[in-house]
Amino acid sequence: MTDIAIVSYAQAPMVRDAGCANEVELIMPVINEALQACGLARTDIDFVCSGSADYLQGAPFAFVAGVDALGAFPPIKESHVEMDAAWALYECYLKMLAGDIDSALIYGFGKSSPGNLPEVLSLQLDPYYLQPLCPDSVSLAALQARAMLDAGRCTREQMNEVVINSRRQAQKNPRAQLRKPVSQEQLQAEVDWIAPLKKSDCCPISDGASALVICRESQAREMGLPYARVVGMDHRIESHMLGFRDLTDSPSARNAAKSAGLHNNIEAAELHAPFSHQEILLRQSLGLSENVDINPSGGALAGNVMMAAGLDRIGSMAAAILRGDYKFGLAHATSGPCLQQNLVTILEAA
C-alpha cells in the first residue's frame, strides 16, 4: 500500500488520423484538462514524465518538441521514456516512493497515422535475428493466436466474445474509436486478415494523447480532491527471443501482478490486449475470475494510441473507481511484441 493518489486523468478522442494536429496540439489540450480537473497549477507539479516514440510519426525529437506544450519556464524537472506512458507513470511512482517528489504530471502521445505502424513496430525487435526479416506486429500476434488455439487455451468463439464485449463496453466511452456493435454471426462470417487473426481481432491504429496527475494522499485530502489510491505497481519482461517463450502464457504479467498486490477482491480489470486472444491469455495468466468486469472502457480493441494506451488502461480504471463503479481494480499495460513487457497496477477507492 502506498500513499500515492491518482487525482486526474484526461484523454483526447482516439481517431484514425489526427490530421493537422502536431504533437504540441495533441498534448496541450489533455494536459490542461488534467490540470484543471484537479485544480493543481503547473507550478505545483514537482515532476513531469512522458512516453512517446518518434519513429511512429517519423519526426526526430518530436518528444522534445512536445515539451513546448508544458510551459517549461522557469525550467522544470522533466523526463521521457521511449515506451508507453504507463512506464512514465512507473518512473514517477518510483520517485514518489523514494521521496524525491510529491506530485507528478504524466502524459503520453502517439501519432501513428503518418507511417505504416505494423512495419514501424518491427524496429522494436531483436536487430539481428528478427528485424532484418521485418515481421509486422499483426503477424507476430497471429503466431501467438495460433499457438493459443493449437494448445486449446482459447477458441475462435471466445476470441469473438472478446471483440463483442469490447464494442459493447465502448458504447459507454465517447472517446473510443471503434464503438459499432458486432455479433457472433458477423464475426464468424468475417474473412481472415493474417490468419488466424481477422481484422476485428486487431486493435485499430489510433492517434491521440492522454495525461494523468498523481500526488500524495494527504495533499489530495487537503484539497478535497477525489482520488484512487495506488496499492502497488510492478513490471516484468519476457525473453526478447520470441522462440524461447511459451507464447500461450504470461509469467511476467503474473509475477508483476503478484508483486503489485493482486488480491481476490478485484472487481474490474483494464487489460492492455491489442489483439483479442491476448485478453484471454491475460485473464488466464492473472487468474481473474469470471466475475471480473473486463475493459469497462472498451479496451485497446476500441482504440489503441501507441505510447498512451497503457496509461489509458490505468487512467480509465482510476476514473471508473472515482465514478464509484468499483472499489478494487487492476490495470495492465503492455509493450513490445506478443505481450513481451507487462506492467500491472492495483488500484482501490480512497
Partner: protein, 152 residues
C-alpha cells in the same frame, strides 16, 4: 489580421527515413552468421547439454555465457504459423507465404522465418520443413531465403 485557419487546406509531404546502420556482432552472433554464410546452421550448446537455435548470447535461464556452437541439420518442425495473403514490399517473399516458428531437429527454442507454400491449406503445426538457402550469402539471417516443405 483575421484568423482564417479553418479555411486553409491541409498540407502534406511524403518522405522517407533511412537508417544505414552497420552492426557489430560479438562472438556468438558472428559465428552463427558466418555459419549461415557457409551454408551451415549452428546451435548453442548450453551447460545442461541442450541445443538452442537461434543461439542466444547468454543461456536464457542461468544467464551463463554461451561458449560452444555446433552444427545441426538444417531442418525442423513448425511450432506455430500464420498466413500472410498480402505480403508487403519488405516481406521476405513476394507472394503469399506463412510466418513460422521452427524448432530445429534435436534443439530447443524456435526460429522465426518465412515458409514458402502455395496455399494456406499446405501449412499446419507440426509439419516438417527445411532451410532453403539464398543463392548469394553474406552473413545475415536472410542467408536463409525461407523454409520450404520437407517431403520425406
Amino acid at each position: 489580421m483575421t484568423d482564417t485557419l479553418n479555411e486553409l487546406p491541409p498540407l502534406t509531404q511524403d518522405f522517407e527515413l533511412g537508417f544505414t546502420y552497420t552492426r557489430s556482432l560479438g562472438p556468438v552472433l558472428s559465428r552463427f552468421l558466418t555459419g549461415l554464410r557457409d551454408g551451415q546452421v549452428l546451435a548453442a550448446r548450453t551447460r545442461a547439454g541442450t541445443l538452442l537455435v537461434p543461439p542466444p548470447e547468454f543461456e536464457p535461464v542461468s544467464g551463463a555465457s554461451i561458449k560452444e556452437l555446433e552444427p545441426v541439420a538444417a531442418e525442423g518442425t513448425v511450432l506455430s504459423w500464420c498466413w500472410v495473403s498480402q505480403p508487403s514490399s519488405s516481406a521476405p517473399l513476394n507472394k503469399p507465404f506463412a510466418w513460422v516458428l521452427v524448432r530445429f531437429e534435436g534443439c530447443d527454442g524456435a526460429m522465426l522465418h518465412a515458409l514458402a507454400a502455395d496455399a494456406k491449406e499446405q501449412v499446419h503445426t507440426g509439419m516438417r520443413v527445411r532451410v532453403r538457402w539464398a543463392p548469394e550469402r553474406v552473413g545475415n539471417v536472410k542467408d536463409i531465403a525461407c523454409f520450404e516443405v520437407h517431403k520425406q
